[in-house]
């Protein structure tokens, strides 16, 4: 198919360029015109047929249109508004038992067929290096289906001015409350993903994500000190309605030290609190290093869960596929096979899912055509499963993929990525205030700070945004220079209490990196406030010349 035919089919030719400017979200509106499904199917079939003809025993093709908008602000200024669009097709094949991949930005039948042939040639060239042929778990073709993130308000319909005004208002609230500088960004993502395979699936998905982080910085010129407090609002797999703050979605942190958010986010209120809290951090007491009972809020727990559970239970890491970059894992298969490996204490239940509404990782089907689901990873403290995809599950004695294969672009090959991984809420009724009341010497940590973990996910060090000393069951005041270090298994076995589902909420990572070439993905992690006894806390204050 020639280029002009493509434009005609997609309806985004010259005739539609003169979109009204005022009162509408312009480019974004135009971007909403989706590529015709029939056209994508024609391209996909061209690739599938070419690959099969060239000798592939399996082929999948992903045709992607990736739209993003970033609005960046600094104090009361909008620095830039950027729209990005990327369009193309990636073809993955198995030939002679070996994978091959090729991608092209040219969406014509000839170009995608050529990419498919190239992928087969690559697979054949590499087959001599293969020690074992690729074995894919069977997937029954689902025919022509579609899935869409259940959004109420599409970011592409919201005028840029309204979005910019919101960011500027948040910055102003932070400045008025004591911040010396405010920066905020609105990341808006729409992935239009079409997947087809020789299994007989033609899957059209429309995925939406949103994140509005800010950074409040307070500077004390006299002492030369500066401190920051970042936003506590989560990145979400929701529409713009996330920013329509509702009073019923607000949660008071333990001791009422700050307000937190569950199903919607009041960025203005959070920015105001951040301005005040960043300033207060300058005079907070520097922590005394030692062992503490840590009370960790879900806004902090998401990152701890991500690093010490989500990554080590990726089966490709366990098997050694990531050994050269992201690393391997301490959670080796013998530990899982023993059915006795105490990953955490008995109250610890961790699960993976790709269907949690509002989460960053939620989709109907993964990037190799598998219907998504939820499954247990750690049950009553025992390691019971991993995160796996089609070419791995036979090693677990399973016949179905877990459905967590993902590629960040049409031009990236899909591979095993972390699904949403969450800590289940405690079964007994418990609020964060009740949890704090039971702690003699502890620290309450809210929000995620610096984070680092070794290549097998044993030794980690985490910071946070807000730290409060707990003395004899009461919050005694604010602390600074706090980071805690632990071994993953010791840490999760030190978990002594988890609040109930009234306190359960998700945080998330918008730019989780893995793989070579490096790819990013976005995942959510849910938790309720949890307590970990006797954790080593270090003081991070340093002086330089």
């Amino acid at each position: 198919m020639e280029r002009r035919d493509f434009l005609k089919i997609t309806g985004i030719g010259v005739g539609t360029m003169m979109v009204p400017v005022m009162g509408r979200a312009i480019a974004a509106e135009e971007l909403q015109a989706p590529m015709a499904v029939a056209f994508k199917k024609e391209l996909a079939d061209a690739a599938l047929n070419a690959a099969t003809k060239a000798g592939a025993s399996y082929c999948d093709v992903r045709i992607g249109r990736y739209l993003q908008q970033f609005i960046t602000t600094r104090d009361l200024n909008v620095e830039n508004v950027v729209n990005t669009e990327s369009l193309g097709a990636g073809v993955r094949v198995i030939a002679n038992g070996c994978y091959g991949f090729a991608a092209t930005n040219l969406l014509t039948k000839d170009a995608v067929a050529a990419a498919a042939q190239q992928a087969v040639a690559i697979a054949k060239a590499n087959a001599r290096l293969l020690s074992e042929p690729v074995r894919l778990a069977a997937v029954k073709g689902v025919g022509e289906v579609s899935w869409k993130t259940p959004i109420k308000k599409d970011w592409r319909n919201v005028p840029i001015k309204e979005k910019a005004d919101l960011l500027i208002a948040a910055n102003k609230a932070g400045l008025d409350a004591g911040a010396s500088f405010m920066q905020s960004v609105m990341f808006q993502v729409n992935q239009q993903k079409y997947f087809a395979s020789t299994d007989g699936s033609y899957i059209d998905q429309d995925v939406h994500r949103l994140w509005v982080p800010f950074f409040a910085t307070a500077v004390d010129q006299a002492s030369g000190k500066f401190r920051t407090r970042q936003s506590l609002g989560a990145p979400v797999g929701r529409g713009y309605e996330w920013l329509d703050a509702r009073p019923e979605d607000k949660i008071q942190a333990a001791g009422g030290v700050t307000t937190l958010y569950k199903n919607s986010y009041d960025i203005i209120e959070d920015a105001r609190a951040a301005g005040k809290q960043a300033k207060a951090k300058i005079n907070a007491k520097s922590v005394e290093a030692g062992k503490y009972d840590l009370v960790l809020s879900p806004e902090h727990m998401y990152l701890t869960t991500h690093e010490s559970v989500g990554h080590p239970l990726e089966l490709d890491r366990v098997l050694g596929y990531e050994a050269n970059y992201a690393g391997t894992s301490f959670a080796t298969m013998d530990k899982w096979q023993s059915k006795k490996f105490q990953y955490g204490s008995k109250i610890v239940n961790l699960y993976a899912d790709k269907i949690e509404p509002g989460s960053l990782g939620a989709v109907g089907y993964d990037d190799e055509g598998v219907t998504c689901k939820r499954w247990d990873l750690v049950k009553d403290g025992i390691l019971v499963n991993y995160e796996a995809i089609r070419d791995q599950v036979h090693m677990l004695g399973e016949k179905e993929s877990h459905g967590c294969c993902y590629a960040d672009s049409w031009s990236s090959v899909q591979f095993q990525r972390m699904p949403n991984v969450s800590l289940a809420a405690g079964k007994a009724k418990l609020t964060p205030d009740e949890m704090v009341a039971d702690v003699k010497k502890g620290i309450y940590i809210v929000g995620a700070g610096s984070f680092s973990i070794d290549q097998q996910r044993y030794n980690f060090q985490f910071g946070g945004q807000l730290f409060y000393e707990i003395k004899d069951g009461k919050i005694a005041g604010e602390l600074e220079d706090v980071a805690y270090q632990a071994n993953t298994q010791d840490f999760w076995n030190a978990c002594t209490a988890i609040c109930d589902d009234r306190d359960w909420r998700m945080g998330g990572s918008f730019f989780d990196g893995k793989g070579q070439p490096g790819q990013i993905s976005a995942v959510s992690h849910g938790a309720a406030t949890a307590r970990f006894n006797g954790i080593n806390v270090i003081n991070t204050a340093r002086k330089i010349g």
């Binding site: 030719g13 909008v78 991608a103 290096l129 293969l130 010129q221 391997t328 097998q456 044993y458 070439p517």
Partner: protein, 444 residues
């Protein structure tokens, strides 16, 4: 087609500029082909090639800006991109800090392209992987590695007459070799722009030797040790130092370069006087584009001279505010080294730790540039000039500012790029006293 000739690229740039009705227009067009082969568990895992192209169009009406990226380059696609950028700009609020596009520049070309790299075939990639896999298998070891090559072009233009075109290429190879029982691990990295200079076989020998040597690591108490950081290990830490060299951050009081009471500390001696860092787009070993992302012509810049910080990066806006000359954002970083080889440095060490690789580096405190991270894939105890035995990996909490004050010795520089460094570097191995290891890691 993703690889364009200069004439083809110029036609696209000119077309975009001619379509623009805004007060100004900036264009960047990049394209090319990337190829890769990845292996693990002693077998090939993935391999592929990607052809892509990206056009960035940034326009402004007065102080209102809009930017659009696309990879659709037919005439309709170009017009659509320009119109979108203009529509975005019209809707965007005014930016009081807006700076007009840079004036016409003269670029002195740098040598950033090699045909040997542009012509890599799938068979050559497979052979490069085989040259690593075969010796690993023969030694009863397990290899995981990655070779990535790219060849493409970049064209930069704006409505003030700026125009630049240059082709670029590069090859990056990393390899981790582990013992079958998982008790030993070694790593190597190599980056070149000319594929004919890449030997994955020679590189893999280093990883193989380290994997064998690192079995049965002993635990040393955490604490302050003299360390020999191999260039790749040092590069990641030095990288964080560079992030702190922003003039505005310093002037605003939120950088290690901020002066108490206001202003910045440029011209002050921060490091040992043997520390010399500079950037040079025409350096024969690490050439980079002779212009930055805004099209400003690059030149040689002395960042640190004899331990004194001589350079802060001024954005064009901040330079105007402060009345200083705005210079292009550097594209590489070269640290002057000494004549000693890594082996010489080990020989001259009475007691110390040799570090192959640093991992998961994160900023803990920007006030002191405190970084945490871990050692990985080959950490050894050195005594009386010899590697005595492997040691368990450490977590460290250390600042590059402190580190470069505690300098004992610098070795011969090496080209480093990839995972932990934002720009391509020439970095020497360095011996540092009192490096702060804060805990042990059981990870191999």
């Amino acid at each position: 087609m993703s690889m364009m000739t200069e004439a083809e690229a110029k036609r696209i740039c000119d077309k975009v500029l001619s379509l623009a009705k805004a007060d100004q227009c900036e264009v960047q067009l990049t394209g090319g082909r990337t190829g890769n082969i990845r292996f693990a568990r002693n077998t090939v895992s993935t391999s592929g090639i990607v052809d892509d192209i990206q056009l960035v169009v940034a326009v402004a009406y007065g102080k209102r800006q809009g930017t659009v990226t696309t990879n659709e380059l037919d005439d309709a696609g170009l017009e659509r991109a320009v119109r979108r950028a203009e529509e975005l700009a019209k809707l965007a609020p005014e930016n009081p800090e807006f700076m007009p596009a840079v004036a016409k520049q003269t670029y002195k070309p740098s040598n950033t392209f090699y045909e040997s790299t542009a012509n890599i075939t799938a068979e050559q990639r497979a052979q490069a992987a085989a040259d690593s896999l075969d010796p690993s298998r023969k030694n009863g070891l397990v290899a995981a590695g990655f070779l990535q090559d790219n060849a493409g072009f970049i064209a930069q233009a704006n409505s003030n007459g700026v125009y630049g075109f240059q082709r670029q290429s590069g090859v990056d190879f990393t390899c981790t070799v582990r013992t079958e029982d998982g008790r030993g691990s070694g790593w190597v990295s190599k980056n070149v722009d000319d594929f004919s200079k890449m030997s994955t076989s020679l590189a893999s020998e280093i990883a193989i030797a380290k994997a064998k040597q690192s079995v049965d690591a002993k635990a040393l108490e955490p604490g302050r040790y003299t360390v020999i950081l191999e260039p790749a290990a040092a590069a990641g830490i030095i990288n964080f130092l560079v992030f702190g060299l922003d003039a505005r951050q310093a002037d605003e009081g939120r950088s290690f370069m901020s002066k108490k009471g206001g202003g910045n500390r440029i011209g002050e001696k921060f490091f040992d006087e043997r520390v010399n860092l500079y950037s040079d787009p025409w350096h024969p070993d690490v050439p980079v584009l002779p212009w930055d992302g805004e099209g400003t012509a690059r030149g040689r810049v002395d960042v640190v001279k004899n331990g004194v910080v001589n350079y802060l990066q001024y954005s064009r806006y901040w330079a105007k505010e402060k009345g200083v000359e705005a210079k292009a954002q550097p594209g590489n970083l070269i640290m002057e080294g000494g004549k000693a080889s890594l082996e010489d440095m080990i020989k001259s060490t009475k007691k110390g730790i040799l570090v192959t690789r640093t991992w998961y580096l994160r900023m803990v405190d920007p006030q002191s540039v405190l970084i945490t991270g871990l050692t990985r894939d080959g950490t050894f105890y050195v005594e009386n000039g010899r590697i005595m035995y492997p040691v368990k990996n450490f977590r460290f909490n250390e600042s590059p500012v402190t580190m470069l004050n505690n300098l004992e010795e610098l070795g011969k520089t090496e080209r480093i790029a990839g995972d932990e460094a934002a720009v391509i570097m020439m970095i020497p191995p360095m011996k540092i006293r009192d490096f702060n290891f804060t805990s042990l890691s059981d990870a191999v």
